[in-house]
Amino acid sequence: MRREDSSSGDRQVGFAIIPPLQVQTFTDIVRYRFVLENLVAKNLKALYRNMALGFFWSILNPLVMAVVLTAVQLKFFGQQAWWPSTFLCALIPYNFFAYCVSGCANSVIGNASLVTKVRFPRQILPIAVIVTNLVHFAIQSTLVVAALLWFPPPHDVVGWHFLWLPVIVALNLALAVGLGLLVAGANVVYRDVQYIVDSVMTVLFWLCPLVYDAGPVLANSPRWQFWLYFLNPLSGLLDSYRAVLFWGRAPDLGVLALATVVIALLGVAGVRSFWKHEHRFADLI
């Protein structure tokens, strides 16, 4: 066997005692960041091979969706010319959420050949999906900017309320991680979770304020319906994105607070269920 005597200096990677299975925290992600890198590179293969083509593939789906729905909305529903802007403000975050959750559901099963052969912190798998989709999210965000410039909103949008954007994105990310971990673990135990997730995503597309604005729709309904509607945290987030990016105002704080609470609860459920079952994944796959 070949020995790299020269490189023996940086061979401190070995751990004297492999930590027991219980010791699973997010610090593992730091130690296993090269694994994360490799998994993300695998997911972003197209982008790595050819930057321009990868960029194109990433925006193709939302672009087609926006073009088709815009044509329908303008032609049959007499929407304003800025409709594509309002739509894309919500579609891109929705896409990020949907791709994350759907991808996470398959993340452990889809890497069965790794899970059954090597001990490594399993949360790396859904996290790799999330990181991959963050890259797509960033790329697709250019569509939002382009739309806002091309089909400008009826009034000025730039202002201090833009500071809400990082908060909303952070909440969006937290929602994706929490729900992602929840479905990633659940799909190992129950194989139909993937199908359920995919169906729910389609339902959410119509249930959340994407093709319509929540404000006018809920304006004349009782208060409890308003809160029931925004119990779905994705509705609250998409409404907030649109408030900030398109209407040029701060989001509805009540809505955002409710979304934050639900996201926190989902996050706790996701992390706890994943941790509870992750040691059994190799047996169940």
Partner: protein, 249 residues
């Protein structure tokens, strides 16, 4: 002497599922209060042994006797149901059929992925890459997706990676039997190098001559229990007698 691997009264119970559970069906079942068809099965029970650092130990047994389960427990891909397992040292696991490769990735990309899973950094893999590729003898296929590889080719690549990560404990599950003779010889030479360097070897093999050539001790598992443990020659002879139709001692 320091202990490399110790099993104390270890048991591993699997839940045998004849059908993959579906959430919809399980919910319906709990509503209708029907019992689910779950069967429990002890793949290992009351298994105790210890392997000292620097020792080479073979695990023998018929199919389904729990050999792969034992190695998976050492590699910590699965937790024991009862008992305690102690592992001291950096592991080089090569569990049955494949080494933690992703079928869609090329051999080259899988070297990076697998080595990173085993704890190497990018710089370390960069430095070892040429040597790993050369050792594996995969040649031009290194750029082809792993799913096009034969079992033997996957074993070659897996062994090449594991051999280069410089583990303290090498776990091999029927790896030497899938490669061709030429590669088996190369592996044996590497393993001898390991042994000289004071590393621990734990391997599953069905080849008695290989066991006798490489190991001082052997563990014979039968039906998830330790049937015999001791000097390789004795255990091998007993196992061989059993295979030839003899009764269990």
């Amino acid at each position: 002497m320091t202990i490399a691997i110790r099993f104390e009264d270890v048991g591993k119970r699997f839940v045998v599922q004849h059908q993959r559970p579906f959430l919809a069906r399980e919910l319906l079942r709990s509503v209708l209060q029907r019992p689910s068809h779950r069967q429990e099965f002890w793949a290992l029970r009351n298994v105790s042994f210890s392997i000292e650092a620097g020792e080479s130990v073979a695990i023998l047994g018929t199919n389904g006797s729990g050999k792969s389960t034992t190695l998976a427990l050492i590699a910590q891909t699965t937790p024991p149901t009862e008992g305690t397992i102690t592992v001291n040292g950096r592991l080089g696991p090569l569990l049955e059929l494949g080494a933690g490769f992703h079928p869609d990735l090329s051999g080259y990309e899988n070297i990076y992925l697998n080595a990173s899973l085993l704890g190497l950094t990018r710089r370390q893999v960069d430095a070892l890459l040429g040597s790993i590729v050369e050792y594996s003898g995969i040649g031009d296929f290194i750029d082809a997706p792993i799913q096009t590889y034969s079992t033997g080719m996957k074993a070659r690549l897996g062994f090449a990676v594991v051999a280069h990560i410089d583990p303290d404990i090498l776990l091999l599950d029927e790896v030497l039997s899938v490669g061709d003779g030429q590669f088996a010889q190369k592996c044996e030479a590497t393993i001898r190098g390991f042994q000289k360097a004071g590393k621990t070897l734990c391997f599953v093999s069905h080849n008695p001559s290989q066991v006798l050539a490489l190991c001082q001790r052997a563990i014979w598992l039968h039906g998830g229990r330790v049937q015999a443990i001791g000097p390789a020659a004795e255990v091998c002879a007993g196992y061989q007698r059993f295979l030839d139709g003899g009764a269990l001692a």
